[in-house]
Amino acid sequence: MSDKEWPLYEVFIRSKSGLSHRHAGSIHAADDQMALDAARDTYTRRNEGVSIWVVRSSQIVASDPAETAAFFEPAEDKIYRHPTFYDMPDGVENL
């Protein structure tokens, strides 16, 4: 009898409608349905969720932490994207 490990799933939970799903942790399961059931039992024993997403961890594509600085560099020098960059003349309202 083989005791091969079940695949790992990442678990995302929407805590109430109106909010986004948020990463809660991970679980092992043999298939998708078991992953949902196990995620419910493991992460929502106190009504922490109204919706669960599970996805095989191996399917997630992630940015490389070693490249963080270079990867996010394009946004670094564009301070004009923030409203605070602009000085509004006195007397102008509702802007």
């Binding site: 005791d3 490990e5 790992l8 092992h28 078991m34 992460y43 024993r45 932490p65």
Partner: protein, 330 residues
């Protein structure tokens, strides 16, 4: 605590690794000092990774083995309400084990490896779970003292420098306070009951007090991993500091129950505002860690049997999943 610095065979933390440059190590320490959180795929010193794998997996194993002393009383809980509460509490502990195993897995160790290490006896778990739960009052004492000591240790771990561990601890801490209260509630009922019931509560305190103090691990001058773990902000307080806090909050609770803490040297020190306590029997602690506590063999045998008994279920689920995956592909 659940991670008492039990596994002393490991190389001391901080062993220099060939592949690590001083610059890397220094940059890492700077991140820690700036209270930055370290995430799974970030660069980290090998010794930091090893220390965390050891600590988180020991913690997970403790949650799993810790279900046994309480599970012992499930079918004998005095009322249906108490039974439902105890079942929910034990189920939480299983959940804690799972959160922690998945946190440890982010460091590159597999679940299967951790389970193998527990079953083979290579990995350790907290000494406290090698004591028997002899009466119903023990279920009260475990919730009050054992979960109480766990809370004391786990609250600072919520700020641990390793993100996945810290997030698991935040989730766990939210659930622990129910555990402690249900235990205290059991003792309140017994202490307001017959003389015999109150004596049962006293007996439970007599047996669980000292082992609970040992949960915080060796005293500071004996604790090998403490200094490095503090520098890495895995630990925020020393073993003795946490133990003292626990004593300070727990003694008045015992007084409220009308129970006597089994320590003749226990005394409130007006000057420091802390309780002074008697010497802990460290030989007993070492004996339990070495495998010679009252229940070590029983706990391991039961865990191994549960794992073996579940083998056909794991196999069936795997075969079912493979069959359906093949069908879906066709």
């Amino acid at each position: 605590m659940y991670t008492q610095g039990l596994d002393q065979k490991d190389k001391p933390a901080g062993t220099p690794q060939g592949a690590e440059t001083p610059g890397q190590v220094e940059a890492f320490q700077d991140r820690i000092d700036a209270e930055d959180k370290i995430e799974a795929k970030d660069w980290m010193p090998e010794a930091y990774r090893r220390t965390l794998i050891r600590q988180i997996s020991q913690h997970a194993h403790s949650e799993i083995i810790g279900m046994q002393p309480e599970g012992n009383w499930l079918t004998r809980a005095p009322t249906l309400k108490r039974k439902a509460i105890l079942l929910a509490k034990i189920q939480d502990e299983a959940g804690h084990g799972l959160y922690l195993y998945s946190a440890a897995e982010t460091l590159g160790v597999s679940r299967a490896q951790m389970v193998t290490d527990l079953l083979s006896g290579k990995a350790k778990y907290s000494s406290i779970f090698n004591y028997p739960a002899l009466t119903w009052a023990d279920i009260g004492a475990i919730g009050w003292l054992v979960d109480g000591a766990a809370i004391m240790n786990q609250i600072p771990l919520c700020r641990c420098s390793y993100g996945p561990y810290s997030r698991a601890m935040i989730r766990i801490c939210k659930e622990e306070s129910f555990h402690q209260r249900q235990g205290f509630d059991i003792l309140v009922a017994l202490c307001n009951g017959t003389d015999e019931q109150k004596a049962m509560a006293q007996d439970a305190l007599d047996r669980w007090w000292w082992p609970s103090l040992m949960m915080f691990g060796p005293s500071d001058n004996e604790s090998k991993h403490s200094a490095q773990s503090m520098a890495w902000k895995i630990k925020r307080f020393t073993n003795d500091e946490l133990r003292q806090k626990f004593i300070d909050v727990t003694v008045p609770q015992a007084e409220f129950l009308g129970l006597k803490v089994p320590d003749d040297e226990l005394e409130f020190d007006e000057k420091t505002g802390h309780y002074r306590h008697g010497e802990i029997d460290w030989q007993e602690f070492l004996d339990v860690l070495a495998g010679n506590g009252p229940c070590n063999r029983q706990r391991m045998a039961k865990r191994r049997k549960a794992h073996e008994d579940g083998a056909w279920v794991r196999e069936a689920a795997r075969v079912y999943a493979e069959k359906h995956a093949a069908k879906d592909a066709a």
